[in-house]
Symmetry: C2
Subunit: 200 residues, 2 copies
């Protein structure tokens, strides 16, 4: 089959098609929506992509995404820097911040250990976490990876590494539905999960 | 609630959120996917948007999207320029071309008349169609708008305008499921609908 649309349209469709959860028909719909936007708005879309890629980095301390050298949480003197909540993803930081209950800092792993997806301990930000622990200031590590197989395995792996440093290692309470995802939990459930955290 | 992510990330999320069918969670997922792409691939995505907007225009004759002055179908001497198939959308042209049965030309309306959405006859490419008919070369108009309320109304409106010019006006046969959308019809159904077209 030859191309159905003009080459630049086909290229735009194929770019949308790469996005997660976007199939052929959706990609066409999105591409034609963008083609129908006023020029300035389409340019704003393209610029947002470029700008986010250019200006967003991982925080030098916690690896969360930020547009500064160090993220606002790590820079905040009012927060408890002896407690680190370890999460898989920047979206999980946002979910916990919404509870307004947590006053410690974070560490974003950017993934979980998953042998089936060929993701090992060196592919996520565990080394950076261990460096923070080795610094000596950390007293508690709250492991807040998702309560599914890979999240549990990652938590266990980190717990084993961290314990020799004399750090208290806790896991979020199972207020979160087992098999669910942290980012979809409601604020109350998350607050309870934080309060009922248990030592591993 | 303050911003949950760094401002450039929030901006990217809000850009994705404007897309049709993309909610808050999907927009976050898409934004973080793009942030996770290698720089070159994110740039290719942004460039595809800019490039498509810059180089894709409506064909001077049939109003289909093309990156040339005149689209390949309108330029093709081998096609029957006395027959025009009138569709609402460029995606509908692609659907009919897939049947490989139709040898005439097209006219893309870029929408249908829909008073509820404040879309009147002047908001779609009816004037351009009438200019082609007034040119005298057109013998048949196949009205291939969707067989739903607005598609039918648009077809009736165009039929009334075109008949005084002595043009044969036909409608696709109801091989297409009533209430369905042209772009999702399979090739056989579309072929039958073309063959069984009836004069209005």
């Amino acid at each position: 089959m030859t191309e159905e649309f003009a080459p630049p349209v086909e290229e735009l469709i194929s770019q949308f098609r790469r996005l997660p959860g976007v199939g052929k028909k959706s990609a066409q719909r999105l591409a034609f929506f963008v083609l129908g936007l006023p020029d300035a708005e389409a340019e704003a879309f393209a610029s947002a992509i470029i700008n986010a890629k250019k200006t967003v980095f991982q925080c030098a301390v916690c690896c969360n995404l930020t547009d500064r050298e160090t993220c606002p949480v790590c820079e905040d003197e009012g927060r408890d820097h002896t407690t680190i909540c370890v999460v898989a993803d920047p979206k999980d930081v946002a979910a916990i911040e919404r509870t307004r209950e947590y006053k410690g800092t974070y560490h974003v792993l950017h993934g979980v250990i998953s042998p089936l997806d060929a993701v090992g301990p060196d592919d996520i930000r565990i080394r950076e976490l261990m460096a923070r622990i080795a610094g000596g200031e950390v007293r508690e590590l709250i492991l807040a990876t998702d309560p599914d197989t890979t999240g549990e395995a990652t938590a266990m792996y980190i717990a084993r590494l961290a314990k020799p440093f004399g750090v208290k290692v806790t896991r979020l309470a199972y207020g979160i539905p087992v098999g669910g995802h942290l980012e979809f939990a409601d604020d109350v459930t998350l607050t309870r999960a934080l309060a009922g955290r248990s030592e591993i």
